[in-house]
Assembly symmetry: C2
Homo-oligomer: 328 residues x 2
Amino acid sequence: MAIRIGILGYGNLGRGVECAIRQNPDMELVAVFTRRDPAAVKILTEGAKVCRVEEAASMKDQIDVMILCGGSATDLPVQTPEFANMFHVVDSFDTHAKIPEHFAAVDKAAKETGHIGIISVGWDPGMFSLNRLYAEAVLPEGENYTFWGKGVSQGHSDAIRRVEGVKDARQYTIPVEKALEAVRSGSNPELTTREKHTRECYVVAEEGADLARIEQEIKTMPNYFADYDTTVHFISEEELLRDHAGIPHGGFVIRSGKTGWNQENTHVVEYSLKLDSNPEFTSSILVAYARAAYRMAKEGQTGCKTVFDVAPAYLSRKSGEELRKEML
Amino acid sequence: MAIRIGILGYGNLGRGVECAIRQNPDMELVAVFTRRDPAAVKILTEGAKVCRVEEAASMKDQIDVMILCGGSATDLPVQTPEFANMFHVVDSFDTHAKIPEHFAAVDKAAKETGHIGIISVGWDPGMFSLNRLYAEAVLPEGENYTFWGKGVSQGHSDAIRRVEGVKDARQYTIPVEKALEAVRSGSNPELTTREKHTRECYVVAEEGADLARIEQEIKTMPNYFADYDTTVHFISEEELLRDHAGIPHGGFVIRSGKTGWNQENTHVVEYSLKLDSNPEFTSSILVAYARAAYRMAKEGQTGCKTVFDVAPAYLSRKSGEELRKEML
């Protein structure tokens, strides 16, 4: 019998989860839950329902794992504990600084009701975190480096859109090749924020807007751009839609460390992602961890977990025998 | 209290484990066990003992985890089950085809006596296997590629040494850059053995040997070289010792896969290693998994495990709270 999945929230991430479920024959989409009018939400999966969020409580017996596809700012801090009271849940909570707090809230709700909640699943936090951990455990004397991009940062694009005279914008975060090479050399360089990434902005200005002022405002914006070398390109709305419609992303986790009685040997471990679609890749990870949640719950485990607590075998559709034979 | 480690076998791998223990303050080397005369074996760690293999049975209470550093051909198939009767054990068994059989033997011995045995720990099998599994679980529609090198293959170097007229030799396995690029492009190419790797041989010939015949014999050797583009360089013994004394290795695990309702998006996941010392890196992984074995045993788990069965958090010296705060 297939693992029965519910999706809460049908934005880019929810649609990505729907697509990923289709690629995993041991899983089945039962329903999408939305705060919008269900009649106005069209999904792709034949046979799956669109329901109001409030209906979820009455569908506990029809869904094995609920995948939460809301945002980290306001949705997930409320929804994940709330739904962990009713379902096994997986979310992609990515506000790094607030993870301990979120973990505690989900752990309490999940333990009280005998559920599992796997939080902060995605690629960072998620796959990148795993690679930071594995590499540090293996090479305790060394340094971890994380680079992001080339990819679209939604937060930075939004920040540009708030500048007066800006109609639309797309911001790319780009790792600096020279910094990557320095890290790969094993020299464990100290790198400033400016040395690690540059920011490239494609901006559509309102007619008659003062372009020099817009560029200046972007480049000096604290937190977002002031600490980076930033390039601003003004383009037409047509060009933005034609050339910058995708949501690519990616990045690198690199650790270099020493071994030997006198630390005479250097090793470099590198993990990298090149993603055409940031939300679809994140969704695919969520679905693999939904499988893990289902299996760990079957074994009687409860409470909040992160990718660190999930043995890799739980993620794969293959049995232990198959994995040892084919993948080890 | 530190985790008390025993090392069985004191070759390159055993020495590497000794060095790695020194980098992990929560671990302590109690004794090295050897089949040689203990008086003839000099180790580096002050306070640790050198014992005959036979003494191990009487030291069960002094050692938490025994790390087995023998070879996969004849040592580990016998030693790992035997020692899993007495200790929690970790080995680096790397004969891929015989892993199921080895797993069964260790599982039986470990379960009968309430121990844990983690087998096939290293980088391939090991870290590479983990990356194959994670990437496949996340991108079920795609293809895995593994490349090895640039690095020294002990087996191929030995094969060359068996050719008449060869005094010494070192063989490097080298991934073909063009094949790597094709895989990284996301095009999921079909690659033959010859297209993936080349083999480069540095050979010291006996005085007066027929170099043309040696080169021909190497290049046409079945299994080892016949299916590859092989280059043979004749060098002096002095050059071999000067330029080819290290044991570097490394490689790449790359998966590219598709997502989206109509598979419209491509993603490339790449993991790579660049290692100055193959045995020291493998040893460092063994030590991290010894920590995991100790902790999983404390929780009452028993039987044979592989890297697939070990939740990442068990590998790190950090607590769950620290990991979530610092690494997630």
